[in-house]
């Protein structure tokens, strides 16, 4: 499967994976480092660049992450969530 990488001009040092955000913290989506299908799906669920997300819950033992995005609650598997890079706000 072809990996579609999205590159950004921004300084990437302050980018952290979504899974590193603590419960209740907010972040701005900067890049999604996953395959084309997953990127498209996440885009469609509202996770496009510059979107603000809030972590509501982290599943036990690297379980899925629950976030709030555009007023809807979204659950994302841990593996995929760790490929979503955000800038903490």
């Amino acid at each position: 499967m072809m990996e579609k990488r999205i590159e950004y001009n921004e300084n990437c040092n302050n980018l952290i994976p979504l899974t590193c955000l603590k419960k209740g913290n907010k972040g701005k989506v900067i890049k999604i480092d996953a395959c084309g299908f997953a990127v498209q799906r996440l885009n469609e669920m509202g996770l496009v660049p510059e979107t603000e997300v809030k972590v509501l819950r982290n599943g036990i033992l690297s379980g899925p992450v629950e976030i709030k995005v555009r007023n809807s609650h979204l659950v994302i598997g841990h593996g995929l969530a760790s490929k979503i890079y955000v800038k903490a706000v």
């Binding site: 499967m1 579609k4 999205i6 590159e7 950004y8 001009n9 084309g36 299908f37 997953a38 990127v39 498209q40 799906r41 996440l42 885009n43 469609e44 669920m45 509202g46 496009v48 660049p49 510059e50 979107t51 819950r57 599943g59 036990i60 033992l61 690297s62 379980g63 899925p64 629950e66 555009r70 007023n71 809807s72 609650h73 979204l74 659950v75 994302i76 598997g77 841990h78 593996g79 995929l80 969530a81």
Partner: protein, 658 residues
């Protein structure tokens, strides 16, 4: 005035689209599959104000991309069947996300009506939507509805009829994206869309007869594989595509993100603008919903709650199922004398009873007692939103075998009966997941197989041995799924799931949904079950079993170390698993199993019976769920696995206990 109006319902999952469909069509429904696809197609008729309105319920989708069968089915229906009106059902409490699909439907430039559903729920969340303003912003009629209570459905029907009567002039020859009021993308995209549009027009590609050229242009920018293929197959398409690629290349060089991300970003910008313009949020209070989730999704209490819910529900289902199954069997057995008192040769009586009626009875005694309560349970889990919570809690462990948390429920259900378990896998998203989950479900010991294990190993060797066999089976299920995950085409995807708010399921639509699912199963299963039982009965009367044992002996006797007669009873087990044990005793003329099997054979017999083939009702359910080709695969894998594992136990036993 049009005689018949055709409309399509389109919308996200969990927005109450099926409820609207059920409320509008009543019992006039046909449920089947889309041609050549495993996607369910529901069609119904509404008679309203002397009109006949044919309603097609499109699958629940979030987008019109080409990544899932559901999306392709939906957009092809709209493009090629050209419904008079597309009714877009949106969740008022989650407007912004829902508008993404609305905007994509607007891109298709088809006549549309928007049903703003679950208004009550939005109000509860403190959200107020100005429908008139929304209608103005989108340029289409908007009707507020509360489908579960039947509110607003008449107004919706009126709006549909009016829209269908509306004469539209669709002059695609002089289209200009700069005239669009709603679809306001960034100027670079607009420019490229117009350039592609001109290329399409110049080359006279007839694909624009089906889809609007503006939509095609956008899809080409998004690198939609399906549309690219369709374009290339048209006369002059290859040439046009070359010119289009150049245009897209120029656009690509202007951005860092992929173009599909850019286009989706723009759509969200539009959705966000419209939502902000027409909604007022009173207060963002801590809702009951959040409180429930603090328990249901808690790292400790969440699992306790889940275990309790599943345990109680299954306990109820099995008790109800077992109880009713027996009552129904007794009831039907009461008819046996009628057949056997007929003055026809005994052979015909047997064929009539065992071959035809028994098949019907087994279908009914399985379907009614187990499937009905399970469907009720599943409908409650799904419609209240709790199923999504279970998916959250169990996602990690299911992820290891390429599934998501949702798959746990149907697989667990297999313990009662494999039939509803297999049918229940339909709640999963991709064909791949449905395949793996149904495969797992067929290996879970159903109540019939549990009886066999308990009745042989449990009684004569001790319950601890029976438990060991069950534990072994859990291992087999997990390992089988692990391999299925490896061999199934495609690759597993991480969970991306919307967590819907808790709802009170509406009674009438839920009951209708359950009824249609059961009816649908009976149509497919009854013929298969009856033909199967009939064939076996004929086999018995032609006395072909002798020859069958010749064929099965090498495996049954040599490899598995079982008595030759097991080869025959296993064939009967295909009808109903209990028959393996019953036939074994009947054919051997004893009621004591220890006279036929020693402990080693008992264990092997138990394991083989548990794994060797799904019963005929399960095969029928598999056919309904995944089609014949994959069903045959599963049957083959089960037979192969049972022989392999049974044989290994046989060899190891001899080796270890020598």
């Amino acid at each position: 005035m049009k005689e018949e109006i055709v409309i399509a319902l389109a919308g996200n999952a969990n927005v109450g689209k099926s409820v609207i469909f059920n409320q509008l069509t009543g019992l006039n429904q046909i449920i089947g599959n889309w041609p050549g696809k495993t996607v369910e197609r529901a069609e119904g008729i509404l008679k309203y104000k002397n009109r006949t309105i044919k309603i097609i319920d499109l699958p629940g989708i979030y987008s019109l991309s080409a990544y899932s069968q559901e999306e392709i089915v939906s957009r092809e229906f709209i493009a090629f069947e050209k419904p008079d009106v597309v009714v877009n059902v949106v969740d008022a409490s989650n407007l912004e996300r829902n508008l993404l699909l609305t905007i994509q439907l607007l891109e298709l430039h088809v006549p549309m009506v928007l049903a703003l559903n679950q208004i009550d729920y939005a109000n509860k969340k403190g959200i107020d939507i100005d429908a008139k303003k929304l209608s103005n912003l989108l340029g289409i009629p908007v009707v507020k509805t509360v489908a579960t209570k039947g509110k607003g459905l008449e107004a919706l029907s009126d709006a549909i009829i009016e829209m269908a009567e509306h004469v539209r002039d669709k002059d695609i020859k002089s289209y200009d994206i700069n005239q669009e009021r709603v679809l306001n993308y960034r100027s670079e995209i607009k420019e490229t869309v117009m350039n592609i549009y001109k290329i399409l027009l110049k080359n006279n590609i007839d694909i624009i007869e089906a889809y609007h050229p503006m939509w095609i242009a956008l899809k080409l920018i998004e690198e939609d594989k399906d549309i690219i293929e369709k374009l290339k197959n048209k006369k002059g398409g290859e040439e046009a595509y070359k010119a289009i690629i150049e245009e897209i290349g120029i656009l690509k060089s202007k951005f860092n993100d992929s173009l599909s991300t850019i286009v989706t970003s723009d759509r969200y910008k539009i959705a966000s603008y419209i939502t902000n313009e027409c909604t007022t949020v009173k207060e963002n209070k801590f809702t009951l919903n959040d409180m429930l989730d603090n328990i249901a999704l808690d790292k400790f209490w969440g699992y306790i709650t889940m275990t309790a819910v599943i345990f109680l529900a299954f306990y109820g289902i099995f008790n109800f199922g077992g109880y009713f199954s027996e009552i129904l069997s007794n009831f039907f057995d009461g008819f046996k004398p009628f057949i056997y008192n007929l003055s026809i040769p005994i052979m015909y009586k047997d064929i009539l009873w065992n071959g035809l009626i028994e098949g019907f009875i087994s279908a009914v005694t399985i379907v009614l007692p187990y499937i009905l309560p399970f469907y009720v349970f599943l409908a409650i889990l799904e419609n209240t939103g709790y199923l999504a919570r279970i998916a959250f809690l169990t996602d990690k462990i299911m992820h290891k075998v390429g599934l998501h948390g949702k798959a746990l429920i149907p697989i667990l259900m297999g313990v009662g009966c494999n039939v509803p378990a297999v049918l229940g896998t339909k709640i999963l998203e991709t064909d791949r997941e449905i395949f793996i989950a149904s495969f797992m479900a067929t290996l879970v010991p159903c109540s019939a197989r549990i009886v066999i294990i308990l009745g042989t190993i449990g009684i004569f060797m001790g319950p601890q041995y029976a438990l060991a066999v069950f534990a072994f089976d859990v291992l087999v299920v997990y390992i089988a799924a692990f391999f299925a995950n490896k061999i199934a085409p495609g690759k597993p995807y991480d969970l991306i799931m919307e967590l819907p708010g808790y709802r009170m399921p509406a009674l009438k639509p839920t009951l209708k949904q359950i009824w249609f699912r059961i009816k649908d199963f009976l149509y497919v299963a009854l013929p298969i079950i009856i033909i199967g039982s009939f064939a076996l009965e004929i086999l018995k009367y032609l006395n072909l079993f002798k020859y069958i044992t010749y064929l099965t002996n090498p495996i049954i006797v040599k490899w598995l170390g079982l008595p030759s007669i097991v080869g025959i009873v296993l064939i009967f087990g295909v009808l109903r698993k209990e028959l393996t044990l019953i036939m074994l005793l009947t054919l051997s003329g004893t009621t004591v199993i220890t006279q036929i099997l020693n402990p080693r054979q008992m264990v092997i017999f138990g394991v083989v019976t548990m794994l060797y083939i799904p019963c005929i009702a399960t095969i029928a359910a598999l056919k309904r769920t995944i089609g014949w080709r994959k069903t045959i695969w599963i049957v083959f894998l089960n037979i192969f696995g049972a022989i392999l594992i049974g044989g290994i136990i046989n060899q190891l036993w001899g080796f270890l206990l020598k």
